[in-house]
């Protein structure tokens, strides 16, 4: 039942990007002021209301709404990060490992890059391989500077680029409900996965 929704969203994303390439954006209404497309109503606090577009490590262009239908464990990072980001990915893997297999298959893990300049889809794919992240169940995304700033604001993640081009950032894992609402946040690195795992299990009991 969800598949058509996902496909439509993906197609919308692709169609949109092709108009961009043909340069017909001059008269387009900026995202702030477009009327929201009617469709399945999303909860008032859903992150899936965001209009921003993101590119995956497989060059798929999506809106975040394409992630709906499954609980998400979401974190922000950048691939040339030497310290905190591998740890935050490991924290996510620990959560995945602690979930019963039948639940794990129904949870998606999403990593979003701060580094709109250097993190191309190729870099994201290399990061996926380096970190040993399976193709299924893990989504890696990059976006434009403003969109990254906006998503970070919603996730309560603070960051700034330092003089070396590295990103100083706070570390937060966010659990989103299938409709895109923040239901839980794990703040800091090397935290026990227990609480987040419990929150995810609760989503499946409901």
């Amino acid at each position: 039942m969800l598949l058509p929704v996902l496909l439509t969203l993906t197609l919308l994303g692709c169609a949109h990007s092709s108009t961009n390439k043909t340069g017909k954006t001059g008269t387009e209404t900026p995202p702030c002021c477009r009327e929201v497309t009617p469709g399945a109503p999303l909860p008032d606090q859903s992150l899936y209301q965001l209009d921003s577009k993101w590119t995956s490590d497989h060059w798929r262009i999506i809106r975040l709404a394409a992630l709906q239908g499954q609980p998400q464990v979401m974190a922000m990072m950048f691939t040339s990060c030497e310290f905190a980001c591998p740890i935050i990915v490991n924290d996510m893997k620990r959560i995945a490992d602690a979930l019963p297999p039948e639940i794990r298959d129904k949870v998606n893990f999403t990593l979003i890059s701060f580094d709109h300049e250097r993190d191309t889809p190729e870099k994201l794919l290399a990061f996926r391989k380096r970190m040993g992240l399976p193709m299924a169940g893990w989504t890696l995304l990059r976006g434009e500077a403003d969109d990254v700033r906006e998503l970070a604001a919603l996730l309560g993640v603070n960051y700034r680029k330092d003089a070396r081009g590295q990103y100083a950032h706070s570390n937060t894992l966010t659990v989103l409900s299938p409709t895109g609402e923040i239901v839980h946040q794990q703040i800091g690195l090397n935290q026990s996965p227990d609480e987040t795992v419990q929150q995810l299990l609760t989503l499946f009991r409901e």
Partner: protein, 265 residues
């Protein structure tokens, strides 16, 4: 006196028209904005090995904060940003609570008062609608450091005294209209003394309350900056702004928090 001023302005305008023919001339600021020359911002806190200053390129900044009148035009043209339509994700329940309706100000006086009770998202959408953007912290702080007489306002004791007075005085329940005070030396009004203002990267300070939950290792990497020390511990207003920005969330709306727009030149 006013005639002399008029002549001066005409001469200046004529100069601009002539220089406009020159393709190398720097672009002018749009109406209602001021072209701010390139400069630098000295952040209150810097990370270890970070330069002490952030360069700011030439840009345009609104002369005044956005008013309720301006914002009314915006919500009239964009129904999704009306009080009754806005999504809670983008603005909390107090959004535009000082108006008497979706498209109705409380009284005529509000027209020229700075708009407040607006979220970062709403401010950003307004800016986008105008073909502008919000200023960065570096841009805002660089411009706001200027006193009525000099760019380096920290060397103007009278200005510093006035700042400390405002930052330690609660906002009045009835806000004054915009542009009532003195402009700073760039010709920009109300950066202090009226309302606080949103910036595009308000969430760029990395010593937030969140750091409490961070591990020792993390603190070592990022929060060491806390002990790197502020550049000027006497700059009480800058500390207040820093603390205030750190406490904000993007959907918050507050009685004395407004904004103005910037634009690349």
């Amino acid at each position: 006196m006013s005639l002399r001023l008029l002549i001066l302005m005409l001469v200046a305008m004529a100069g601009r028209i002539v220089s406009g023919a020159d393709t190398t001339a720097a672009p002018e600021a749009p109406a209602g904005m001021v072209a701010v020359p390139a400069g630098e911002h000295r952040p209150l806190f810097v990370l270890p090995n970070e330069p002490k200053t952030i360069p700011v390129a030439r840009f345009a900044l609104d002369k005044f904060p956005v008013t309720n009148g301006d914002f009314l035009e915006f919500v009239s043209a964009n129904p999704r940003w009306r009080r009754s339509a806005v999504k809670r994700l983008f603005a909390d329940q107090n959004y535009l609570k000082h108006w008497s309706g979706d498209l109705k100000l409380n009284d005529a006086a509000q027209t020229n008062q700075p708009v407040v009770w607006i979220s970062w998202f709403a401010a950003k959408a307004f800016a986008q609608w105008k073909g502008k953007r919000l200023p960065t912290v570096a841009e805002w702080e660089y411009v706001a450091a200027a006193s009525p007489t000099r760019v380096d306002g920290d060397k103007d004791p009278e200005f510093q005294r006035a700042l400390r007075h405002w930052y330690s005085t609660p906002s009045p329940s009835e806000l004054p209209r915009v542009g009532a005070g003195l402009p700073n030396c760039f010709g920009i009004f109300d950066l202090h003394g009226l309302v606080w203002e949103w910036t595009s990267d308000f969430n760029s300070s990395i010593m937030t309350g969140d750091a409490r939950g961070d591990t020792g290792l993390d603190r070592q990497l990022f929060c060491g900056a806390g002990s790197a020390g502020a550049k000027d511990t006497a700059n009480f207003p800058a500390f207040m702004r820093y603390g205030f920005r750190s406490s904000l969330k993007a959907a918050y709306t507050i009685h004395n928090l407004g904004f103005r727009c910037a634009k690349d030149l």
